[in-house]
């Protein structure tokens, strides 16, 4: 079993830029499966990026199937992406985002509403995904993790960050 640690803000390792996945061996597969199982086990978790568990490689997993978010337009089920690149983007959507690495705090973030992403699947095969709404938001949030960017760096308004139980 792979060792891991869920990194939390202000851990500087969350600011590192992750390396491309070059080999699709058993270790890479094990990491992907670990990401999927952590996402599944964390209540209300819709996406996870490898650097969040201290593996600085460009692998993300997303699943909005059980989400209650109102901006869900498309649901592709479980998505595994290695070396994801956004190749087309349009529109603007503002969503209140939360992050496993910034527990309890939430803030409004502006993202592209519709995106097309090119990536490699779990076995290294190239594919593209067109998506929109909340699923597109989650993918952009995860890709940011690969570049060492947190949603805190993208708040629509700097004073818009608070805990769930505190009123604005």
């Amino acid at each position: 079993m792979l060792q891991y640690e869920i990194l939390k803000f202000p851990d500087k390792r969350l600011n590192l830029v992750s390396k491309e996945v070059l080999t699709f061996d058993d270790k890479q597969k094990e990491l992907t499966e670990l990401l999927i199982s952590i996402m599944k086990e964390s209540k209300g978790c819709v996406g996870l990026a490898a650097p969040q568990i201290n593996y600085q490689v460009r692998t993300i997993v997303v699943n909005v199937s059980f989400s209650k978010n109102k901006t869900i337009i498309k649901n592709s089920g479980l998505i595994v992406m290695n070396n994801p690149v956004i190749i087309k983007k349009e529109g603007i959507i503002v969503t209140r985002e939360g992050c496993l690495s910034v527990p309890e705090f939430t803030g409004n973030v502006r993202r592209y509403e519709r995106i097309t992403v090119s990536a490699l699947d779990i076995s290294g095969k190239e594919f593209t995904l067109e998506t929109e709404g909340f699923e597109a938001v989650v993918i952009q949030h995860e890709i940011d993790h690969l570049d060492g960017i947190l949603f805190l760096d993208r708040l629509v308004s700097p004073n818009d960050i608070f805990k769930r139980k505190v009123l604005p």
């Binding site: 819709v46 996870l48 939360g98 992050c99 496993l100 527990p103 769930r164 139980k165 009123l167």
Partner: protein, 175 residues
């Protein structure tokens, strides 16, 4: 670790927060949670402070007594238990009520909430001339039927001639 609740208020002017927090800083007391707000022209502060150095609190109290007299503030300091908030996963709702101001709006809404054993987490009110609005964030038990509260709020709407809205605060998903 010890925790204290500090309350301080006085006629508003620049420097109140500085004077209070300076004493805390000098004794190495950390502000854990706080609400500081101007109500009319009174500045009010409520703080939970954390003492990790096991300091002599009587010395702190003495400093605040001096400040109280010098700065014309009302200050109180009391040791409190620090407990984790129970039932973090309970559903949270916002109740918004607004309309013409009258005596008893808060009383009648809170009476209804208390009767249903509902806990208030936060409450904010606003008044502008005759227009009054209140925002109440409540926490209900997982098994509580919110429809029953809706029915009772409906009655209150008519009795108080207010708009009263209730909506669930959805917990943001993590990614």
């Amino acid at each position: 670790m010890r925790y204290y609740l500090l309350t301080a208020f006085g006629k508003d002017r620049p420097g109140i927060v500085k004077e209070v927090s300076e004493i805390l800083y000098n004794f190495n007391l950390n502000i854990d949670d706080s609400s500081m707000i101007r109500l009319n022209n009174e500045f009010t502060m409520m703080l939970i402070v954390e003492d990790s150095k096991n300091i002599d609190i009587e010395k702190v109290k003495k400093e605040f007594n001096i400040l109280e007299k010098k700065s014309n503030l009302n200050i109180a300091l009391k040791e409190v238990e620090k407990e984790d908030i129970p039932n973090e996963d309970n559903p949270i709702y916002d109740i918004v009520a607004y309309g013409k101001d009258k005596v008893g709006i808060i009383y009648n809404i809170s009476k209804l909430l208390a009767k249903n054993n509902i806990n208030i987490i936060n409450l904010f009110t606003n008044k502008e001339k005759d227009f009054y609005s209140v925002l109440i964030r409540i926490e209900v038990d997982k098994n509580f039927k919110i429809q029953s509260l809706n029915k009772e709020l409906e009655r209150l709407r008519n009795d108080l001639d207010l708009k009263i809205l209730i909506s669930e605060v959805i917990k943001e998903e993590e990614m």
